[in-house]
Subunit: 243 residues, 2 copies
DNA sequence: CGCTGTCTTGAGTACGATCAAGTACGGTGG
DNA sequence: CCACCGTACTTGATCGTACTCAAGACAGCG
């Protein structure tokens, strides 16, 4: 929880958090009018950086705010009653976390930085009040919540290991392209263990499927460096990709 | 899609859809002030009945409205690209369906009646406009969306057959109790095939786990008639129950 | 250089799926 | 009322995918 005090001379610049952000078109303010974004600026505060392994919030924490990833990667996960970790998602810049905490006003999962990461803090009550005044912001919030429901539905499907791995790779590819990065050549921010856990597979299985995909000429993979060689081929293997 | 024209003499009574509904404290109006519920009455229209097997909406349909189950059971499901059905949920009176369609403004799943069912139709745009005027309604909508995210997260977990079946039974039990029915003796509205599919298991596996639970004295099951004999025992078996 | 953690590879196993009968129920018509 | 049928459910036998256990390869780092 590193919410360091912000030097006064930065305050003016920080007021423009959203207006001047490169993620404007991907993040919460997507599709908002200029003047509406400026109202958002008033309540959004940058926070961090979190170092790799540092938590943004934990299960049971009071829910006060939503967070948008500004840079780096976050991972959300829960520990089930048998003590096993279940990764819920990886979150890229421009994506919101904490939406699942609105219902019981208490965080339902843990959010941790996979590498050095910064976030934008958006106090929920203020945000909801603002949403009541700005119809397009309210609609956008409903959309974002709705989207996460859909992602959960897809993840919960009954898929084979190959279907899971290919849709993971294609999902990462799509999200990276949206952020201006290469859709075919990227570096995974998370260890195999986290990928496996997210896909509800064993680490060894992910390793083996990567190998098989490589042998079949679908991808080129070297530790965390991945290259997609045959996107249509991967698409044929997977049953559903969110977004 | 049976939205029969409503006789004029019913119109006045129908205006009170929510205010006079026994599900008031479970459904969307939960926690709203009397006068706010009356505003909801203005836009909610009862619809149906749907007969068993009749669809409320299908994948790809334009998203115009959310629906609350009024009586009976609904099932939501998708058909994946390999042509296999994946049950997403069973919906009891007082529960909302269609929330996943807000994001792309198009239905993402199919909703079908498991038995004779009636619903309340709530046009989304009007509802969202009203939510901007009634803060408690807006918060309630955010909560309901958030809750569905959490349910999806739990369903997507990596669980054994016994964990899945026990949490299904306990989940049904909880939801039935909330609706004033017995929490320990109930009749399943859906065939084994649907339960199995929902839990990502084979029909035969569900049948076998039911048998095992019965042999262990946890439940008494006869076709669709279920009796929970040892709730703490079931709780020990399951890793997570939504709500 | 050796230590540590990550990742890969191999061998054996187990859980749940699939295949295959067989049974019981509920509806229909005689 | 019963005979018939179709569907749902159960039970048994076999199979296969992915897990577990185990060991080894490789990279990063003190």
């Amino acid at each position: 929880m590193s919410s360091q005090p912000v030097p006064a001379d930065l305050q003016r610049r920080l007021r423009k958090v959203c207006s001047s952000c490169s993620l404007l078109e991907l993040c919460l303010p997507m599709g908002l009018e200029r003047e509406d974004v400026e109202q958002l600026d008033e309540l959004v505060t940058p926070q961090g950086p979190l170092r790799a392994g540092e938590h943004l919030y934990r299960v049971g924490d009071d829910f006060k705010a939503l967070y948008a990833v500004r840079s780096g990667y976050l991972k959300t996960y829960i520990i089930d009653s048998a003590g096993r970790e279940q990764v819920l998602g990886f979150h890229l810049p421009g994506e919101l976390v904490g939406l699942d905490a609105i219902y019981p006003a208490r965080h339902q999962c843990n959010a941790v930085a996979l590498d050095t990461a910064t976030v934008c803090r958006m106090p929920y009550e203020q945000l909801a009040d603002l949403a009541a005044k700005i119809p397009s912001l309210q609609r956008q919030m409903f959309r974002l919540l709705s989207k996460d429901i859909h992602i959960g539905q897809i993840l919960s499907g009954d898929f084979t290991a190959e279907e899971r791995v290919s849709s993971f790779l294609l999902g990462m590819s799509t999200r990276l392209r949206q952020r201006g990065y290469s859709a075919t050549h990227f570096r995974l921010a998370m260890p195999r263990r986290d990928i496996a856990n997210y896909l509800r597979l064993a680490t060894e299985t992910v390793s083996r499927v990567f190998k098989r995909f490589q042998d079949e000429g679908l991808i080129e993979v070297e530790r965390r460096e991945v290259q997609l060689l045959d996107v249509p081929g991967l698409q044929r293997l997977c049953r559903a990709v969110p977004d």
